[in-house]
Symmetry: C2
Subunit: 375 residues, 2 copies
């Protein structure tokens, strides 16, 4: 049985992007779990984060672990016995949907830097094409963390009638300056790697390993909290009792980061790193939907919200989520907002947490039980 | 008149370092301001931060601006009318003191990576050689911020009779795991730059500009606060009204960081960056002086302390300074501790601040007025 599907569109009519350019022959890779009920009221659309894929969870016992295995499955927060769950790989990524590593139909070669710039808005437009094709006009919920949370926010405003609720985790109404700064450094590390070759490294043995690995190391620091890093590594030395005086791994935290960097290079495309970080940098729902005003943007939404921030998330600090929750309440929306007390930093939305499980479960069961009062 | 002096030692007896290796013909570059009084009770030793030099302040009107111009001068917090101030460039740096760019007397070529690993302890040992030579056996105060604060801490414990007080700003009793992580990424950026050539780029036209500039960009983010970055740049675009969709400078914060990176390359040596960040990573006064215990380390000190942390410093969070202040009080030391409320992040100790000026002035005038009761 095949679990990874691909929906293709824009074969005749080009797909128009926010930057003004178009894409033809767009693929959207997606996976589904559970069964859609007859009145189509149990569908949930899950959005992955920056480096994720459509593979949110296992389909069978020996399947590869998914990125949200803890939360998606039989009896879990996103209960696949109750809900029909869809997760699609975003445009610009490298896990089956069209991105810079895909073949450009015009040239027969990978797009590389000829891939047009994309936005969070464009990612959702592509996924909307898929869900229209699947004939799901209204979701019980759209849900995601980090970039996935940005997609959930954008979806809830751009397609107000197409979801009953939105679950937004560890996200921000716009990419903050400090986060843009870290992305910029990560991109520079890739752009300056001689093996990057202006993006034309596909098919070559040399790929921008060093640059991409550096970018990941920087990212990884921002996904953890200072407290967690201190608890996990502190100043412990790597496999030794005394300092060896060298630039290699003296401390465990160094070895850990290098390992994270190396591991990442084997699973992610450097050009996708460039395009997706840029898309995230561009994200600002105030500009995209409200002419600069958060209130005006949120006035367009019609759904209920579950919003979770995490006390030690310094990439997207809780204050931003709180501001969104308050503004949405001002707009008359039903909002359940929790700031979850945890040491796990930004990555918290990926990590098992009792409060988060309960919050999602309760929110979803209330959503499915209530009559449709907000169309 | 010459203001930059050099003291040379270890011409016959090699200078022993913490790593077990030795250095011969060590230079220590230093500058002084003000006049030493006859009983030698008005001398203050200032330590610069990581990328600083001995040039803390101007010596004459048209002199180059110093790194602590705001705080050092006639009538200022470190009042050059009252105090005799010394600032020396640290070992391993590139502003006149012996470092990786200095000529190795054995080969006649720059040390490059043959330079031995150094520690904060070694830097102070070298400066102690200088101050012994200058026949100043006891300072009114030793003072510094960031790495300079670590030097002040180390000095106060290693040479308990040689200072009446220590002024420690924006520092930590040990380099935290997250700060080690950022240093590691910065060093990797240099080590992976093909122009670095295993450290042998001296005299070549190609220097590791890209790697060093990246390292500085990362460092710079950690020196600012998220709040300050948001206030200063937010999501403002660079010289344009609309997104241009590119990997170049879209946002002001990107342009600013790139500028900081480029500017830095013209004034700092990449190998010094490697050695000094490593020295900072190694710093842990608990290990260096207390067999792992902060209390045991501080029990060795005999001086008074002025300790300032800054509310938005996330590189060396205030909690660490508070812990030091409390432990020192437990050891019977007189401690004035302030957590200064500011948006300027780690860099606060370099920026004009009324409370900081007053705190330093008052502390120093109390120190000079009190009788010598703590020898």
């Amino acid at each position: 049985m095949k679990y990874l599907h691909t929906y293709s569109f824009a074969e005749t009519t080009p797909f128009l992007l926010s930057c003004g350019k178009t894409l033809s022959n767009v693929n959207v890779a997606y996976e589904t779990w559970g069964t859609l009920n007859t009145d189509k009221t149990n569908a949930i659309l899950i959005f992955h984060a920056f480096t994720g894929s459509s593979h949110a969870a296992r389909h069978y016992e020996k399947d590869t672990e998914g990125w949200w295995e803890t939360y998606v499955g039989s009896g879990k927060a996103f209960d696949t016995d109750k809900y029909f769950i869809i997760c699609a790989n975003v445009l610009g990524s490298c896990y089956g949907s069209t991105g810079p590593s895909s073949l450009n139909p015009k040239t027969g070669k990978p797009y590389a830097l000829n891939f047009p710039f994309i936005t969070i808005r464009d990612m959702n437009s592509a996924i909307k094409n898929l869900t229209d094709h699947l004939q799901i006009s209204r979701f019980l919920a759209v849900a995601g963390g980090s970039m996935g949370g940005m997609l959930a926010l954008d979806w809830s405003i751009a397609y107000p009638n197409s979801t009953k609720s939105a679950i937004v985790l560890a996200a921000s109404h716009s990419q903050p300056a400090q986060a843009i700064a870290f992305h910029q450094v990560g991109r520079q590390a890739i752009l300056q790697d001689p093996s990057w070759k202006k993006g034309n490294y596909y098919g070559s043995e040399e790929i921008p390993r060093l640059g991409l690995s550096l970018a990941r190391m920087i990212g990884h620091i921002t996904y953890l909290s200072e407290k967690k890093m201190h608890e996990k590594f502190g100043r412990k030395l790597q496999d030794k009792a005394e300092l060896s005086f060298g630039f290699d791994y003296e401390f465990q935290v160094e070895s850990y980061l290098r390992y994270q960097g190396h591991k990442f290079v084997d699973r992610f495309d450097a050009n996708s790193y460039l395009y997706l970080t840029r898309a995230i940098d561009y994200f600002d729902i105030r500009i995209d939907h409200g002419e600069g005003s958060l209130f005006s943007a949120f006035e367009k939404s019609k759904c209920d919200y579950l919003m979770l921030s995490y006390s030690t998330d310094w990439l997207y600090p809780p204050e931003n989520m709180k501001q969104m929750a308050n503004t949405l309440r001002g707009c008359g929306r039903r909002v359940v907002y929790l700031d979850i007390d945890t040491d796990n930093g930004h990555d918290s939305f990926l990590i098992d947490n009792q409060v988060m499980v309960a919050a999602v479960k309760n929110f979803l069961s209330q959503e499915i039980d209530t009559t449709e009062n907000n169309v």
